[in-house]
């Protein structure tokens, strides 16, 4: 190993590769759950699924990906105040999404598709597993926010911020597959 291998720049590429491999691995959980939904229930979907709510929370989550991206660009240019503002917006949108799923969607679904039924199993397992990832995402973004507020990130070294935001995009992309599978497919 040469000196280059120990430099910060080199290590950040290692970490980036590690993060992407981690996300490849994590997607397999969702692949298995998505496949199980079709295996168990085909394209069967109860009519009571709340389409309006689904559309609203999906839009909120996608919007949060946009603010997350802007936050990353901001810190890459050394604009700390914009970074903090946009990151806080992202966290807020993430929490709204989480509240939409857990406090509105779940109580409704408990009535027409409890977890002891086929669709309910798929619904609660998928949204639950995704909500867990959203929760960890919010937690990591919050850590990045705290570190950013202390001035922990520079233009050259903002790996923590980058990682939390890339992970946030990953959580969003997963939802892009979960949403149609639970809300749109079938009739």
């Amino acid at each position: 190993m040469t000196v280059a291998a120990t430099t910060l720049k080199y290590q950040i590429v290692n970490r980036r590769l590690g993060l992407w491999l981690f996300m490849v691995s994590e997607s397999m959980i969702f692949l298995a759950l998505l496949a199980s939904r079709f295996y168990m229930q085909g394209t069967n979907r109860p009519a009571e699924v709340n389409q309006t709510l689904g559309l609203i929370i999906t839009s909120i989550l996608l919007l949060s990906s946009f603010t997350a991206n802007r936050a990353e660009v901001a810190i890459a240019h050394g604009d700390r105040s914009s970074f903090l503002r946009l990151l806080l917006t992202t966290i807020g949108l993430g929490l709204v999404f989480l509240a939409g799923v857990v406090t509105i969607e779940w109580p409704e679904a408990l009535h027409f598709a409890p977890p002891s039924t086929g669709y309910g199993t798929a619904f609660f397992a998928l949204t639950g597993m995704h909500a867990f990832h959203v929760l960890t995402g919010v937690f990591i973004l919050a850590l990045a926010f705290l570190k950013g507020r202390r001035g922990g990130y520079t233009v050259d070294d903002h790996w923590g911020a980058e990682a939390s935001i890339v992970y946030w995009h990953f959580v969003d992309v997963i939802w892009v597959f979960v949403y149609p599978t639970l809300y749109l497919v079938g009739s």
């Binding site: 040469t2 397999m28 959980i29 086929g118």
Partner: protein
């Protein structure tokens, strides 16, 4: 001591976690209470061990102490938290050899039970013993070679100072002790393990709290496996020394790379399958309850989607060790290096599309049978290539029949039988007859025990001088091989014959007509078990008073032999530059490592205390 501190923290964590669940109104010793308690236990255990220290300090803005690679020297460092890949490799090695011997002892109990048609244990206890043997051996097979030899030697073989993520490496090791604790505790609880290591529903979902412990133990182990795989991939891609191109990578490193790809991608499926069972049990979901809209065979599909690639996670590092050792001790270039790499990658590619051959008798849709039969048989092409490469390397070589070489040749013999008997399992018409018999048990042990475990032992003997700085007794090593090889074949070949006569697997009692052959199998089994006494004796005496090993006792070319035995803290005392192929024995003017330009090679380090 990390162990004691970790356990204390873990117990406190369990009390907090389970206490919280009691507060929200869960019953005592209910499944949610135990599950949440365990999650707290795991986090607190890692905290006590010291895994979180560095990360958590960074997150919360605390000042970060520079972490020493190991907190203490001498034997004590192997019991403490350490980020040195060599220490972690030894930790893995000792842990998994201990687990191997434990599960081997359980196998002796199984054979004692089957010595007589009626046996000595009640069926419940027998099931627990069998399930414990199964799951521990699966864990050993998945992690023993990768975790120990992979951890110790991949960075050395590619000329790196350490793994890409040393702390993640430590994390993946420290996740293992909780698994062992859970399994031991679970097996002692009333009810025990009823379902075998595959934990099929509905049996696994209806068993007592011990089955819950089994499921979360398996899940934790999966996590460790995924993290380890990720680390190896990044290490091999990013940490190679200058000149160590992909075409010069030792074949063992390639095999770890391939196995890591598999564990990274596929382990999540078994994790998900187990999680689904947990959700069914703890939350009352309906994944595997067909009467409520779930799928009965769904579990088997997801489970085998991991567990078939898992056998390649086990055997590919075995193939790597086989080719590595055969090339070195035939003193010849590896025959068809590129084909060998292609074969390993081919196995990786095919491994994901063969899983349903485990399910020909499960009642899955008939149209799945033919495609899975075909894809399974396709795998014999890359596997055959591995064998051709090995045979081509041996051909006209100057064989040195050292102990590791003997084990490698034993692997070659055993796996040939294991592979050929596999054809009958891949063909649905014969599999329907053979599926639930000892034929399968014999076949499986021929491939994994006769293959991977032989390779593991070959690897231990091969690198023992490097790890310990001592030489073992070749005479005792050969004795171990001789007894083990003969007993192995007398054990598993009759097992397959017993299967043909109708000896079912997973049974505690059997018809008296089969007594003779079972008695023969049991006695061979006891002889096989006793061969490990020779192994332990040899290792123990070599550690205490073996001759001091030189840096390169066998005059081999690869990088791990070009540093002292054992290697210094950062592996090499000079800047490594690779300029040739690792196996070019007898090729004029060929070197693997460029002559050191910096400081000279150190003399052999003083032996480990």
């Amino acid at each position: 001591m990390s162990w004691i501190k970790g356990l204390l923290f873990g117990i406190v964590g369990f009390v907090i976690g389970s206490g919280l669940m009691l507060l929200v109104g869960q019953r005592r010793a209910s499944e949610p209470m135990v599950t949440v308690g365990y999650i707290f236990f795991l986090v607190a255990w890692l905290l006590g061990v010291g895994v979180w220290d560095h990360w958590a300090r960074g997150w919360f803005g605390l000042e970060n102490k520079p972490t020493p690679t190991f907190k203490s020297h001498g034997v004590a460092r192997y019991f403490a938290f350490s980020t040195d890949h060599k220490v972690i490799g030894v930790q893995y090695l000792v842990t998994f050899v201990a687990l191997l011997l434990l599960a081997g002892a359980l196998a002796m109990v199984i054979r004692l039970q089957l010595l007589q048609p009626t046996g000595i244990l009640d069926p419940q206890t027998y099931n627990t013993v069998m399930s414990m043997h199964g799951i521990i051996m699966i864990a050993v097979a998945v992690a023993a070679v990768i975790g120990s030899l992979g951890n110790y030697f991949v960075p050395l073989l590619i000329g790196a100072e350490d793994m890409a993520f040393p702390r993640l490496n430590a994390l993946s090791y420290w996740l293992v002790p909780p698994v062992a604790i859970l399994l031991v505790v679970g097996s002692l609880l009333p009810g025990g393990f009823t379902s075998g290591w595959r934990v099929y529903p509905p049996l696994a979902e209806r068993g007592g709290i011990s089955m819950l412990l089994f499921l979360i133990a398996f899940l934790t182990f999966g996590l460790s496996s995924i993290i380890g795989g990720l680390n190896f991939i990044v290490t091999i891609i990013r940490m190679r020394a200058p000149g160590m191109t992909w075409g010069r990578l030792p074949i063992f490193v390639w095999s770890i790379f391939c196995a890591s790809l598999l564990s990274l991608i596929f382990t999540q499926f078994v994790a998900t399958a187990l999680l689904m069972e947990l959700l069914d049990r703890v939350v009352g979901m309906a994944f595997f309850a067909p009467d409520q809209g779930g799928g009965a065979i769904l579990y088997q599909h997801i489970f085998w989607f991991y567990s078939h690639p898992a056998v390649y996670v086990m055997i590919i590092p075995g193939f790597g060790l086989l080719m590595e050792i055969v090339a070195h001790f035939s003193r010849k270039p590896l025959f068809g290096y590129k084909y060998a790499v292609g074969a390993l990658l081919g196995i990786v590619g095919l491994s994901g599309i063969v899983w349903a051959h485990h399910m020909f008798t499960s009642g899955m849709q008939d149209f799945l049978t033919a495609p899975f039969m075909l894809s399974t048989e396709l795998i014999s092409i890359p596997t055959g290539l591995v064998f051709l490469v090995t045979l081509g390397t041996i051909w006209q070589g100057k064989l040195r029949l050292t102990t590791p070489m003997l084990f490698a040749l034993g692997f070659l013999f055993n796996f040939t039988i294991g592979g050929l008997t596999g054809i009958f399992n891949a063909d649905a018409p014969t599999d329907l007859q053979l599926h639930n018999t000892y034929w399968i048990v014999g076949h499986f042990h021929y491939t994994i025990m006769g293959g991977e475990i032989f390779a593991f032992l070959a690897g231990i003997y091969y690198w023992f001088p490097k790890i310990t700085g001592r030489l073992y007794s070749e005479r005792l090593g050969k004795l171990h091989f001789g007894i083990m090889f003969v007993a192995f074949n007398l054990l598993y070949a009759p097992m397959m014959i017993a299967g043909l006569y109708g000896m079912n697997r997973h049974v505690a009692t059997y018809p008296p007509e089969l007594n003779g052959i079972n008695m023969f199998i049991s006695i061979a089994g006891f002889v096989l078990g006793s061969s490990f006494l020779v192994f332990i004796y040899n290792m123990a005496t070599a550690l205490r008073r073996g001759a001091v090993a030189a840096a390169n006792p066998w005059q081999l070319r690869t990088l791990e032999w070009q540093t002292s035995s054992p290697p210094p803290e950062h592996n090499f005392s000079y800047a490594v530059r690779v300029n040739g192929h690792p196996y070019d024995y007898g090729v004029d003017d060929s070197t693997h490592v460029a002559p050191a330009t910096g400081a000279p090679m150190p003399a052999a380090a003083p032996a480990a205390e």
